[in-house]
Amino acid sequence: MVLNLLFWIAHFFLFLFLAYISLGYFRSGRASLDLAIMLFLWIFYTTCSLMLFGLLGWLTAPALGITALLVLLLFVVFEPFRNKLFQFLSAWTSFASELRQWWCTLPRWLKWLAGTAAVFGLVRFAFLIWTLPPFIWDSLTYHLTNVGQWIHDGRIGIFPTSTARIFSPANYEVLATWFGVFIHHDIVIEASGLPAYLLGGLSVYAITRGLDGRQQAATIATITYLSVPAFLFAVTNTKNDPYVAAVYLLCSAILVNSFLRDRDVHRGTLLGQMVIFISAVLFAVGTKTYMVHLFPGLVLVGIGVVLKNHKESNANSLIRQMRSELDALGKRGKGLFALLLCMAIFLGGYWYVRNLVQTGSPFFPYGVRIEGETVLESEGNTIDLSPENFLYNLQAFASKFGDKQYRIVPDLSNTTGWGWIIYGMGLVAAGWALIQKKEFRLLFTGFLASFLVIAISLPRSPWNLRYVIWLPAIFAIGLGLFFEYTHQWPVSGRKVLVGLFWFCLGMNGIMSLTYNLIPIDQIGSMLALPALERDAGKFHLQVPVEYESVYQYVPNDVVLGYNLHENGFVYPLLRADLSQDLAYIPVRENETCPQIADELRSKDTRYLFVAPVHTEDYVIGILEKCASSGEILRERAPGLFVIKSNDQ
């Protein structure tokens, strides 16, 4: 285990170092945006390396760790890299001093607020990640099924299972394997959203700074966005939406900082910024397809800021500048840009090309229908692009606005999940900013356009606003800018404003303690278990008790057969240490007991797991009949059928 931890640290350090040395080609001239870009590069490089190793079948701690150590050793041996390595180590001192400088710019009340929020946030994240196993429906169905099976197999690929949704674009899932592969356990798998959380926060900070907000305004905007329940809950729910949101915000930050500011401030980095922009968009497309629907809003922001700031020189001057930057780049820089773009095309396109080759549809298992005409057949859900769907989704949004129908839970059932600060203060502040700040209007228009375009394709469901968890960021930015304006207010008015902010932040904090969902006694029951034995199937918030039968009666060195439907939980069957060999056993409606037993034997197992709600009723009916007739199969424990020993 110690060796595996060393591999983990080496892998982290290597890609952080690579992100640092390549950052020189992508600098924006804005410290917060540079930090966001460096974090994005770490996410990007790490995902790419895991993808390559996974496709080659080397997705194991020793393969990843030894390679990382060898590369680091090479860097130590070769002088140019060695110098960079020392530079990287000393950069942390200057980073700490810059952080101290930033801290000194904040007023006392904000230091207290930011400090309290940071400590509370860290403790909350650590506690929830450590205590609770994954429990979100889609994660247990397909997101983590991919992650767990890939780690179990040491290979990224398709495997026989009950749900076709494992074919969905999966850059997030690839990155999530990093949180489990080195220790071969899911104890910290819920931390896999934290890089997106940081990236989202840094991007909001950079956008506010790009809109000429000072450090105080940017800090308030960041705290506000990071406390939005919809984003905060999703981050530790092992879902991919936080990554799309974070990348969307990063792209907005790049556009605002590249084009809205005085060109002299950051001359020479425009091309690098555009390469990061394209790479980020492609990364998000390979994470979840709906990034395509958010893109028009970004284009609108891009066109708007270019036209606003370059009326005289016109957009051609920007193209000329990028061309001259390209000419001035050395071979190494050109190579890096080309490599990054190739990697981005790979991460953005791999899943679609694979699906096209294997199934005939790039969007498998989803179909596409445009105005009632089926364009792509589906195995499951169909994305409906139509004016009716657009109107339905706008009406649904209106009914969810204000979070009046239900409490905010991670699935965002019939709510927006924007929380107290956005509704209590952000909407009013954004109204003020819309009237007062021309640049804010531009950005707001872009966000609105992205929202309207995605409303055309949103699936009709109570939970669909999880696709727009980036939207409250615009209100958070408005609030940050509004706070700056209130400097001229009398002290009493400002005190009320700060008091209200504390109150709203506190209310967001309270609901985040238990995801507004989990009874305290269930948290207690998880705490009572040893940390490494907190299997997802033992947490019965959504998982039926039948899953416990597997842990009690099936050894983890044999194959476990299972039959679940398209929406059933496969992931808990892998166990927390991802050690269980699984085999999917399809059962047809007219199947006989001997046929089922033969199928089990052909998969080298005598166990068959089924669970109510997660297995079709007819399958459970057949198995119960087999068990009651005493023919071949018997029910060993609830949900667990075995071939009788004398029939082996």
């Binding site: 905010i408 009013v428 003020w432 209200l500 209310m507 309270i510 238990t514």
Partner: protein, 70 residues
Amino acid sequence: MINKLWNSPWLWLSLMLLATLWYAWPQLFYSLFIVYDALETYFPAGLEWVQPLLHIIENLRAGSLWWIKQ
């Protein structure tokens, strides 16, 4: 006059306080239930006096939801 109103802190503070009050129903009570749940788990004896109050709040909440759905 409009300028004066626009620059008045009390306009913005009133709007924000009103918006917060509007949002408080029913979200405030969900949060209170979390606090109550935690206290009930760890300090069950000290909370008996809150029971009738919670009962009233729960009825009000159910009533308001019924009203919203109408």
